[in-house]
């Protein structure tokens, strides 16, 4: 099939950027979306132009590198699917596809569709961990964890940190991401000693990074490739309130 692409091009963070249009010809329905872009890029290089820069690495939906808004929808809108796992059989011949980078002040554009997501790393660095020194730990079976809690923790822990939640939220809020992290670590017994400090510190950093606020629209949950539930945001709200009451008066 043949498609028309309307792609955001921006040379660097300082550039104002613009949309450019390209033709994607002879696209096979078995291609992934990124393979379609590979084909377009090979053509661009051949005609002496610079290829469209975009992040991708594992191309199997787990590393969280790929990050593009396809037709106004983060990752393109297939349920539980990253852009790299989205296949062209979902598009139809002759369609125009608009491709834009994640848009958020906290995610400045490096180039074209590549954005800087180190804000997520900085949030993690403030408290997204359990402080254990290598070696100074009890036997793994010394602390039983109920299967239900453990499964729920896993539901949260499988967040791939792609930032689609931020991209989709009308307020560019990172709360689904932060909630997933706080929830995972507050659900396991090993995470209890730092529970309050973690919630306070991570929320503070989230605010400092310039992400917006949750207005409970559910967009984040709908585009999340790992289908992380909005429930975790409620859980984070509880955790934070609990932390404020327990620790806030220190």
């Amino acid at each position: 099939m043949d498609l028309k692409l309307k792609v955001w091009r921006q040379d660097n963070a300082g550039d104002v950027g613009r949309f450019e249009e390209y033709q994607a010809r002879d696209i096979s329905p078995d291609m992934s979306f990124l393979e379609m872009l590979d084909v377009v890029n090979e053509g661009l290089i051949g005609s002496g132009k610079e290829p469209i820069a975009f992040d991708s690495d594992c191309r199997e939906g787990i590393c969280g590198s790929c990050s593009m808004v396809i037709n106004g929808t983060a990752h393109g809108g297939q349920k539980g699917t990253t852009a790299c796992q989205l296949h062209m059989r979902h598009f139809s011949d002759g369609m125009t596809i608009t491709i834009e980078p994640w848009r958020a002040t906290a995610f400045p554009v490096h180039r074209d569709l590549v954005v800087d997501r180190t804000a997520f790393d900085r949030i993690q660095q403030k408290g997204g961990f359990i402080s254990v020194r290598t070696g100074s730990v009890p036997d793994a079976n010394a602390i039983p964890v109920s299967k239900d809690e453990s499964d729920l923790a896993m539901d949260a822990a499988q967040c791939i940190g792609c930032g689609a939640c931020v991209a989709a939220c009308k307020n560019a809020s990172a709360m689904l991401f932060v909630a997933a992290k706080i929830s995972h670590l507050s659900l396991v017994p090993q995470g209890q000693p730092e529970r309050e400090r973690r919630a306070l510190a991570m929320v503070k950093q989230m605010d400092d990074e310039g992400f917006g606020n949750c207005t409970v629209t559910g967009s984040c949950e709908a585009v999340c490739p790992k289908e992380i539930s909005l429930d975790f945001i409620a859980r984070m709200n509880r955790e934070y309130g609990r932390a404020l009451i327990k620790k806030g008066t220190v």
């Binding site: 309307k6 955001w8 808004v69 396809i70 037709n71 106004g72 929808t73 393109g76 809108g77 297939q78 349920k79 979902h90 598009f91 834009e100 848009r103 958020a104 002040t105 403030k126 408290g127 402080s131 020194r133 989709a168 009308k170 307020n171 560019a172 809020s173 709360m175 306070l200 510190a201 503070k204 989230m206 310039g210 992400f211 917006g212 606020n213 949750c214 207005t215 409970v216 629209t217 559910g218 967009s219 949950e221 709908a222 585009v223 909005l230 429930d231 945001i233 409620a234 859980r235 984070m236 709200n237 509880r238 955790e239 934070y240 309130g241 404020l244 620790k247 806030g248 008066t249 220190v250």
Partner: protein
């Protein structure tokens, strides 16, 4: 001890933060804190909206009932002022946090997407795109605030220039039986004729239309706000969410019907001054 610190200064990591953080700054200065403020003040205002509606509905029981109710409220004296100040405080905080959150949200995304959301699974569009009520909270909220101001001027401060009826509500008083009109009543001494004010006020179609529109917006606001309130306070989960959403929709609808029944009844002639 110093040696240990050089090996692992880990414990210092959160401490500087924790010290600078107390409960009040935690509430006022962080995103989640302000969401609590939003939710708690919203809950308070919702309570007021419900009580106010129940009071107003006494109009259907005739002038004596509603005028007596109003007189009892007046008789609360200082308590009434406590309530009023509390209400005003909640409104203030609600609006302040709303403006603050909204301006932060604007700053968090300064470049909007070019394309409208068209997911490959078209039916998922409704899940992905924020609902109308959610997208327009700040607008519905500010219009409601403007209306509330007008509404106060209309019925509480009784500014004659804005009621659209060639009447001065300041002259509507009743005798001790709460029914007989009283000429030359005195504010604070005689009982106000709330019934007559309502009927006279809503007889003006423009006033009634504005009222209905404002109440409509209030209900749109509540349909999202009530459900978001549960989320912000951390009560929501997948099991309870459908019930909370139904509660939000149901309460909004009841409030809409309750409030608009009054101007509609007045205009339709069901409620008349005998």
């Amino acid at each position: 001890m110093e040696l240990r610190n050089s090996i692992d200064g880990g414990r210092g990591l959160y401490d500087t933060f924790a010290q600078s953080m107390d409960f009040i700054t935690g509430i006022f200065k962080t995103s989640l804190g302000r969401k609590y403020l939003m939710a708690i003040t919203g809950a308070g205002l919702f309570g007021f909206v419900v009580m106010h509606m129940l009071g107003n509905l006494l109009v259907f029981a005739g002038p004596a009932a509603i005028n007596e109710y109003a007189a009892k409220l007046q008789a609360l004296g200082p308590l009434l002022w406590v309530a009023r100040i509390g209400l005003l405080g909640m409104v203030g905080l609600h609006i302040w946090s709303a403006l603050k959150l909204t301006s932060e949200n604007r700053e968090a995304r300064t470049v909007e997407y070019e394309a409208a959301a068209e997911p490959v699974d078209a039916h998922r569009r409704d899940d992905i795109v924020a609902k109308f009520a959610a997208r327009t909270m700040i607008f519905s909220g500010l219009i409601i605030a403007a209306f509330a101001f007008y509404h106060l001027a209309h019925y509480t401060w009784k500014v004659p220039q804005i009621n659209g009826a060639s009447a001065d509500f300041e002259s509507f008083y009743v005798a001790e039986d709460f029914v007989t009109p009283l000429e030359g009543g005195v504010e604070g001494k005689d009982h106000a004729d709330i019934f007559k004010m309502i009927v006279t006020g809503f007889k003006v179609p423009a006033v009634s239309v504005f009222y209905v529109v404002a109440v409509g917006l209030l209900c749109v606001h509540l349909s999202h706000g009530l459900s978001a309130m549960f989320q912000s306070l951390g009560f929501k989960n997948k099991n309870l969410a459908p019930w909370m959403d139904r509660f939000a929709m149901g309460a909004s609808a009841l409030i809409f019907i309750g409030y608009i029944s009054i101007p509609v009844s007045v205009l339709a002639g069901f409620i008349i001054i005998k």
